[in-house]
C-alpha cells in the first residue's frame, strides 16, 4: 500500500494537508485554554473587557480553524481522487495491453473488480487518512501536552483510563476483525448464489431444483445473518463502553480537581478545560482504533492492485521495425512449439506449415486438440515457445504490435460486440469505411438481410455484449467487422459453427468470389468437415499434435484421424 501511495501521491499537497490539519488541531486545542482563561480571569473576576477580549480571540481562532480545515479538505480530497484516477488509468492501460497469458492468470471479472472496487477502497482510505486518522495522533499529542501543562497531577487519571480504553478496543477488535473478514466472505457467497440463480434459471427450473436453490441461498443468508448479528453486537457495545470510560474520567477529574481547587493549587477554569482535553485524548484513541478496521482492508485492495501492475506483459515489442507494407499475403509456421506457462506438456508439439495469398488453411480436430491455441499465436496473443510464426514473410516478433494487428483480422469463437450501433461496430474494423464498404462486408458475412430489416439499418442500436442479437447474428456481425478490415490474413476461430450449413456455405462462397478477399490468406478453424473440404491445406490436430496436413483428398486417402472425423459426420457411402 505504501508503495502505491509513494508513487501516486504528491508530496507537497500531502504535506499541505498535514500542515493544515496541524493548524486545525492547534486552534481546536487552544479554544479550551481560552475558555478556561475566560472563566478564570474574566468571569470569576467580573472583568467584562477581558471577556470581550478573549471572546474576540476565540472568534479569530475559530475562523483560523475553518480556514485550516478547508485547506485540509481541499488537499485531502484532490489527492485521494487523483490517486484513484491515476491508479485506474494505470491499471486500465496496463490491462488493455495484457497478452492472453496475463488475462487468464487473473480472469477478466477479477480484473474488473480490481480496477473499480479496489481502487475505490484505496481512494476512500486516503481521504480518511488525510483527514481523520492523521488527526488522531496530532490531537493525542497536542491534547496530552496541553493537559499536562494545565494540571499535571490530574494527568495521572489518564494513566488509568487509557490502558482500560486500549484493552476494551483491543478486545473488541480481536473479536470483530476476523468476524468482519468472515462477513465479507459470506456476503460474497450470497452474491454468488444469487447470481448463479439468475444465470442458470432455465437449468434450475428444468431440473426442478428451485427448492434446493432456495435452500442454498437461505443457508448462505443465515450464515451471513448470524455473523452479522455477532459482529454488529460487538461493535455496538464498543461505543457505549468508550463513553462510560470517558465519563468516569470526567467524574474523576471533577472529584480530584475540586480537592485541588479547595487547597488553592488549581483554578476553577482549568477544571473545565481539562475536561475538554480529556475528551479530546480519548476521542483520538477512538479514531486510532478505526485504523485497525480500514487499513487492513485497504492494504488488501492495494495488494490486489499491485499484483496487476507488477505483472509484466509477457509479450515484448521490438524497438525498431522494418516495414513490409507491400509484401504479399503469406503465413508460415516454422518449427513452432508452444507450451502454456507452468504447464508440463506442450499444448502444441513442433510443426511447420505455410500458406500463400489466395489460399485457405483449415484446422480441424477434437476439443482440446490445440486449434484455438494455434491460431492465437498468429496475432501474438501468446508467444511461441520455440520456432517462429511469419506473417507476410516477416517474423511476427519483428512487428510492432499495432503493425501486426493491421495485418491480421481475427474473429473470436465467441463473438464480442460493443455497445453502440452496427455502424460503430463495423467502424472498429475500418474507421473511415464508407456505407458501401459496410454493406459489402455485411453481404459477404451473410448479415445484410437481417441488418436491412432492422430499424435504422446501419444505425440500429447494439446493446452491451450485443445482447439484442441472436448468437448467429452476433457471429455474422463479428465476421463482417473483421472482413471490412484491410488485412492480409483473416482468421476465423470456429466462427462458422453458430451458422447453419447453408449460411456457412454461402459465406465461404462469398469469400471466394470477392475480388479483394480472394487474394488474401484465410485461416479457418472448423468442426464441420463440409467447412474445410475445399481448403487448400487442411491441418489435422489431435491432442496438441499436427497429425496430418494436405487437401481433403490426400487426407482421405491416408490420414486415419481425418477419416474418423469424416466418418463420424457423414454416413458411410455419402462421403
Amino acid at each position: 500500500m505504501l508503495k502505491l501511495f509513494k508513487k501516486n501521491l504528491e508530496i507537497l499537497p500531502v504535506l499541505g494537508a498535514i500542515i493544515f490539519l496541524g493548524l486545525q488541531v492547534i486552534s481546536d486545542l487552544s479554544l479550551p485554554k481560552l475558555t478556561s482563561n475566560l472563566i478564570n480571569y474574566g468571569v470569576a473576576k467580573g472583568d467584562i473587557n477581558y471577556i470581550i477580549h478573549i471572546g474576540l480571540a476565540m472568534l479569530g481562532l475559530s475562523i483560523l480553524s475553518i480556514l485550516a480545515s478547508s485547506g485540509n479538505v481541499y488537499f485531502a480530497s484532490t489527492q485521494a481522487q487523483k490517486l484513484g484516477a491515476k491508479l485506474r488509468s494505470q491499471i486500465f492501460k496496463h490491462v488493455i495491453n495484457f497478452s492472453g497469458n496475463e488475462v487468464e492468470k487473473f480472469g477478466s471479472s477479477s480484473l474488473i473488480t480490481r480496477t473499480t472496487n479496489d481502487v475505490l477502497q484505496l481512494q476512500n482510505v486516503v481521504v480518511m487518512m488525510l483527514r481523520m486518522m492523521l488527526m488522531a495522533p496530532l490531537m493525542l499529542f497536542g491534547a496530552s501536552f496541553m493537559a499536562y501543562f494545565t494540571e499535571k497531577r490530574l494527568t495521572i487519571l489518564f494513566l488509568i483510563a487509557i490502558p482500560i480504553l486500549l484493552v476494551v478496543v483491543g478486545v473488541a477488535m480481536y473479536y470483530a476483525v476476523p468476524l468482519f473478514q468472515k462477513l465479507q466472505k459470506q456476503i460474497d457467497k450470497i452474491n454468488l448464489v444469487f447470481r448463479e440463480g439468475l444465470t442458470g434459471v432455465r437449468v434450475i427450473r428444468a431440473f426442478r431444483q428451485d427448492e434446493r436453490e432456495q435452500k442454498r441461498f437461505d443457508q448462505a443468508n443465515q450464515d451471513y445473518t448470524k455473523t452479522g448479528i455477532r459482529v454488529f453486537s460487538i461493535v455496538s457495545l464498543l461505543f457505549p463502553f468508550m463513553t462510560i470510560i470517558l465519563n468516569a474520567t470526567n467524574i474523576g477529574i471533577v472529584w480530584f480537581g475540586s480537592h485541588m481547587i479547595a487547597d488553592k493549587s488549581m483554578q476553577v477554569g482549568n477544571l473545565v478545560s481539562f475536561m475538554t482535553y480529556a475528551s479530546m485524548i480519548l476521542f483520538s484513541f477512538m479514531m486510532l482504533s478505526m485504523i485497525f478496521v480500514f487499513v487492513p482492508r485497504a492494504a488488501a485492495a492495494a495488494k490486489r492492485i499491485n499484483e496487476v501492475l507488477e505483472t509484466q506483459n509477457s509479450i515484448i515489442e521490438p524497438e525498431l521495425t522494418q516495414t513490409n507494407q507491400d509484401a504479399n499475403p503469406e503465413l508460415s509456421f516454422e518449427n513452432v512449439e508452444f507450451r502454456y506457462p507452468g504447464a508440463e506438456k506442450e499444448a502444441l508439439e513442433r510443426f511447420s506449415t505455410s500458406v500463400k495469398g489466395g489460399q485457405t488453411l483449415a484446422l480441424i480436430g477434437g476439443t482440446g486438440s490445440g486449434k484455438s491455441t494455434l491460431i492465437n499465436l498468429i496475432p501474438r496473443f501468446y508467444d511461441v515457445t520455440n520456432g517462429s510464426v511469419k506473417v507476410d514473410g516477416q517474423d511476427i516478433k519483428a512487428y510492432q504490435k499495432a503493425a501486426l494487428h493491421e495485418k491480421v483480422a481475427f474473429v473470436q469463437q465467441k463473438a464480442v460486440l460493443f455497445k453502440g450501433t452496427i455502424r460503430s461496430n463495423l467502424a472498429y474494423g475500418k474507421a473511415d469505411a464508407t456505407d458501401e464498404e459496410m454493406w459489402r462486408a455485411l453481404e459477404i458475412a451473410q448479415a445484410k438481410d437481417f441488418v436491412m430489416e432492422l430499424e435504422g439499418k446501419l444505425d440500429a442500436t447494439v446493446e452491451q455484449n450485443g445482447d439484442n442479437f441472436s448468437g448467429g447474428q452476433k457471429q455474422r456481425l463479428a465476421i463482417a467487422r473483421a472482413l471490412i478490415k484491410e488485412a492480409s490474413i483473416y482468421v476465423f476461430d470456429d466462427s462458422f459453427s453458430a451458422l447453419d450449413f447453408k449460411t456457412d456455405a454461402k459465406l465461404r462462397q462469398a469469400l471466394k468470389d470477392d475480388e479483394k478477399l480472394s487474394k488474401k490468406v484465410m485461416v479457418i478453424v472448423a468442426q464441420r468437415i463440409s467447412t474445410v473440404t475445399n481448403a487448400d491445406k487442411i491441418l489435422v490436430l489431435d491432442d496438441g499434435k499436427v497429425v496430418g496436413q494436405g487437401t481433403h483428398e490426400e487426407l482421405m486417402a491416408e490420414n486415419e484421424v481425418y477419416q474418423t472425423i469424416v466418418k463420424s459426420q457423414l454416413k458411410e457411402g455419402e462421403a
Binding site: 468571569v43 467524574i251 455497445k419
Partner: protein
C-alpha cells in the same frame, strides 16, 4: 430502462415508507423498545451536563465563600458532601444511559440483520416465481444491484441511521429544553445561530449533491467501460483499438475526478462551516454568560453546562440533515426492491382435479398453439404437432425459425398465447410446472454449471443418486476420462468463470447431468455444438442407448446427428415447412434436401 441510477429518489416516498414499516411489522415491539431505550438513554445523557454543572457551581460557591470571609484560609470551604452526592448522581446517570444505549444497539443489531435476512429471502423466493420472460427483459446486472447494493443500503440504515435519527431528534429537543431551563436569554442567543447553520447547509448541501450525482454517473460509465473493454480485450487488441479505448477511458476518468473531488470538498466543508457557526454561538454565549455570572444572575456551573449544550446543540442538526439524505436513498432502494417483489408472477394452475384431459394416443401433442415473446408479434400461429412415445424428433431450420421456442414451450418456460400442449393427453397448462418438468430432462446450449464440485454438478440431475450412479452417468457422457486427469478428480471445484475446464468439457458435464436424471423425455438443444465431432460420436452412441424407448427432442445444426430420427421437423418462421424422416424428406426435394445438400456444395 430499469433503475440504472442508484442515486435517484423514490417515486412514491411515503407509499414505500408505509410498506417498509409494514414489512417490519413483526418486530414492531422491538422497535418500540428501541425507541424507548434511545429516548431514555438520550435524556439521561442530556441531563448530566447540568447536574455536573452543579458541581462546578458548588466549587465556585466555595471559592466565593472563601474569598468573602476575611480570614485567610489554607482551604476554600467547598461542600464536599454535596459534590460527592452530585458526582454519584452523575455516575448513576451515565451508567443508566450507557446501559440503555447498549440495550438499544444490541436489539437493533439483531433486528436489522433479521429484517434484511427476511427481505433477502423474500427477494430470492420471488425470483423463483417470476416467469422466464422477466429474466429475458431485465439485465442480470440490474437485478444483482438490487439484490446487493439496495439490500446493503437498507441494512446499513436500519443498523445505524434509524436509531440515530431518533436520538438526534430527542437530543435536539432535550438540549433545547435544558437550555431554556437554564436561561432563556442565553438560549435565544444560541438559537440565533440556528438559521445561520440552516443557511450554510442549505447553500452547500445542494451543490455537493449535484456533484455527487455527476460523480455517480461517471462512476457508472467508468464501470461499464471497464467491464466491456476487459471482456472484449482481445478484440480491442486485434483491431488495434487500445489507444482509442484508453482515450475514452481517460476522458471519463477525468470527468469522474473533477466531479468527485468537488463533491468531496464541498461536502467536507459542511462540517467546518457548521463548526464555525457553533463556535460563533459558543463565544457569544461565553461573553454574555460571563457578564451574567459576573453580575450574579446565573451560576458559573450553569454557564459551563450551557456551553456544553451549545456544543451538543449543533450536532443533531447536521446529523438529522445527513440521516435525512440516507433515509431518502434507503427508501429509494426499498422501492427498487419492492418493484421486483411486485412483478407479476407465473400463474399457478388452480386445481389438479380440474386438469382437462383429451383422449390422445400421442405422448405429446401441440394443438393450435399460438405464441409470441412479445404481445404484438406472434411467432407461432396455429402450430400442430404429434409425437408418439419413444420417438426421436429432430428439429431443424435456420436461426430464428422457432426451434428453441418449441423447447421453451415444452418445458413451459413461457405460457401459450393460445391453443394447448398435451402430455399423455393431459393439458400441460393445468399441470403444476414442477410435475410437468419432472417428465423432461434437458441439455441446453448455454452450459450452466454452478460453483461446486464436478461431482455435485452431475448429481444436480438427480439429488438422490448414489455415487455409483453418478460415476456411471459420467462414464456414459465421457466425463470420467478427463475428470480423472484433473488433480482433484470429481472434487475439482468449478469456478464461476469456469476457466478451469474447457467449454466442450463443460458441455459434457451438462450431458452427464441429463444422463443421471434419466427422464421420460429428453431435450437436447444444440447441446453438441461445442463438442468436437469425434467426441460427439461417442456421446451419440451412449445417447442412442439412453434414447432407446424414450421420447426425445433434438435441436441440432449438424444434420448427421439426426438422420436416424423418427420424425424430422423442418421449421422456418415459426411454422413447420416439412415433416418426415430423412429419406422421405430427401425425396421431397424441399427445404430439408436443400439444407442437406448445402453441406456438400463447395
Amino acid at each position: 430502462m430499469h433503475g440504472k441510477k442508484n442515486f435517484e429518489g423514490a417515486k412514491d416516498f411515503w407509499g414505500t415508507v408505509k410498506r417498509l414499516i409494514k414489512f417490519m411489522g413483526p418486530w414492531k415491539w422491538m422497535f418500540a423498545l428501541v425507541f424507548v431505550f434511545a429516548i431514555g438513554s438520550t435524556i439521561f445523557q442530556i441531563v448530566t451536563p447540568k447536574v455536573l454543572g452543579e458541581a462546578t457551581t458548588e466549587i465556585y460557591a466555595g471559592i466565593k465563600r472563601g474569598m468573602a470571609s476575611k480570614q485567610s484560609m489554607s482551604h476554600y470551604p467547598i461542600n464536599f458532601t454535596r459534590i460527592t452526592h452530585i458526582l454519584l448522581t452523575v455516575g448513576a446517570f451515565y451508567l443508566i444511559s450507557a446501559a440503555l444505549a447498549i440495550g438499544q444497539q444490541l436489539i437493533m443489531a439483531n433486528v436489522s440483520q433479521k429484517i434484511v435476512y427476511r427481505l433477502r429471502k423474500a427477494f430470492k423466493a420471488k425470483m423463483q416465481r417470476l416467469p422466464i420472460n422477466y429474466y429475458d427483459t431485465h439485465q442480470n446486472g440490474d437485478i444483482m444491484s438490487r439484490a446487493v447494493n439496495d439490500m446493503d443500503n437498507i441494512a446499513g440504515t436500519l443498523q445505524q441511521s434509524l436509531a440515530q435519527f431518533v436520538t438526534s431528534i430527542v437530543t435536539f429537543i432535550g438540549v433545547l429544553v435544558m437550555m431554556f431551563s437554564i436561561s432563556w436569554k442565553l438560549t435565544l442567543i444560541a438559537l440565533l445561530m440556528l438559521p445561520l447553520s440552516f443557511v450554510v447547509v442549505g447553500i452547500v448541501a445542494p451543490k455537493s449533491q449535484k456533484y455527487f450525482a455527476a460523480q455517480q454517473k461517471s462512476l457508472g460509465l467508468i464501470n461499464n467501460q471497464v467491464e466491456e473493454d476487459f471482456a472484449g480485450q482481445s478484440v480491442i487488441k486485434a483491431f488495434n483499438k487500445e489507444d482509442e479505448s484508453i482515450k475514452n477511458f481517460e476522458a471519463e476518468n477525468q470527468r469522474y475526478y473533477q466531479s468527485s473531488w468537488k463533491a468531496q470538498f464541498i461536502s467536507g466543508l459542511i462540517m467546518p462551516l457548521t463548526m464555525m457557526v457553533k463556535n460563533l454561538g459558543y463565544v457569544a454565549v461565553a461573553i454574555v454568560g460571563g457578564i451574567q455570572v459576573a453580575s450574579g444572575k446565573v451560576t458559573l456551573g450553569n454557564v459551563q453546562a450551557f456551553l456544553q449544550y451549545v456544543n451538543q446543540f449543533s450536532q443533531p442538526i447536521t446529523q438529522i440533515a445527513n440521516i435525512a439524505n440516507t433515509i431518502q436513498a434507503t427508501v429509494a432502494s426499498a422501492e427498487r426492491i419492492f418493484e421486483v417483489l411486485d412483478e407479476p408472477e407465473m400463474p399457478q394452475p388452480k386445481n389438479q382435479a380440474e386438469a382437462k384431459s383429451i383422449d390422445s394416443q400421442a405422448k405429446i401433442e401441440f394443438k393450435d398453439v399460438q405464441f409470441g415473446y412479445t404481445d404484438d408479434k406472434l411467432l407461432m400461429d396455429g402450430f400442430n404437432l404429434q409425437v408418439q412415445a419413444g420417438q426421436k424428433v429432430a428439429i431443424v431450420g435456420p436461426t430464428g425459425a422457432g426451434k428453441t421456442t418449441l423447447i421453451n414451450l415444452l418445458e413451459r418456460f413461457y405460457d401459450l398465447k393460445g391453443g394447448h400442449i398435451y402430455l399423455d393427453g393431459q393439458d400441460t397448462h393445468q399441470m403444476k410446472r414442477e410435475d410437468l418438468r419432472s417428465h423432461f430432462s434437458m441439455v441446453l446450449q448455454d452450459t450452466w454449471l454452478f460453483t461446486g464440485s464436478i461431482y455435485d454438478n452431475i448429481k444436480y440431475g438427480r439429488p438422490d443418486a448414489s455415487k455409483e450412479e453418478v460415476i456411471k452417468a459420467a462414464k456414459a457422457a465421457h466425463v470420467d476420462t478427463f475428470v480423472r486427469q484433473l488433480p482433484d478428480g470429481y472434487d475439482t471445484v468449478l469456478n464461476e468463470a469456469a476457466s478451469n475446464i474447457s467449454q466442450g468439457q463443460r458441455q459434457l458435464i451438462t450431458i452427464a447431468r441429463a444422463f443421471l436424471a434419466d427422464p421420460e423425455i429428453l431435450i437436447l438443444d444444440e447441446a453438441t455444438s461445442s463438442v468436437d465431432t469425434r467426441t460427439e460420436v461417442l456421446i451419440q452412441k451412449a445417447m442412442d442407448k439412453l434414447l432407446h424407448n424414450r421420447t426425445s427432442f433434438v435441436v441440432a445444426h449438424r444434420l448427421s446427428t439426426i438422420q436416424d430420427a423418427d420424425n424430422i421437423i423442418v421449421m422456418n418462421h415459426g411454422h413447420i415447412l416439412e415433416t418426415g424422416n430423412h429419406e422421405s424428406l430427401m425425396q421431397q426435394q424441399g427445404f430439408y434436401a436443400d439444407l442437406y445438400n448445402s453441406q456438400f456444395d463447395n
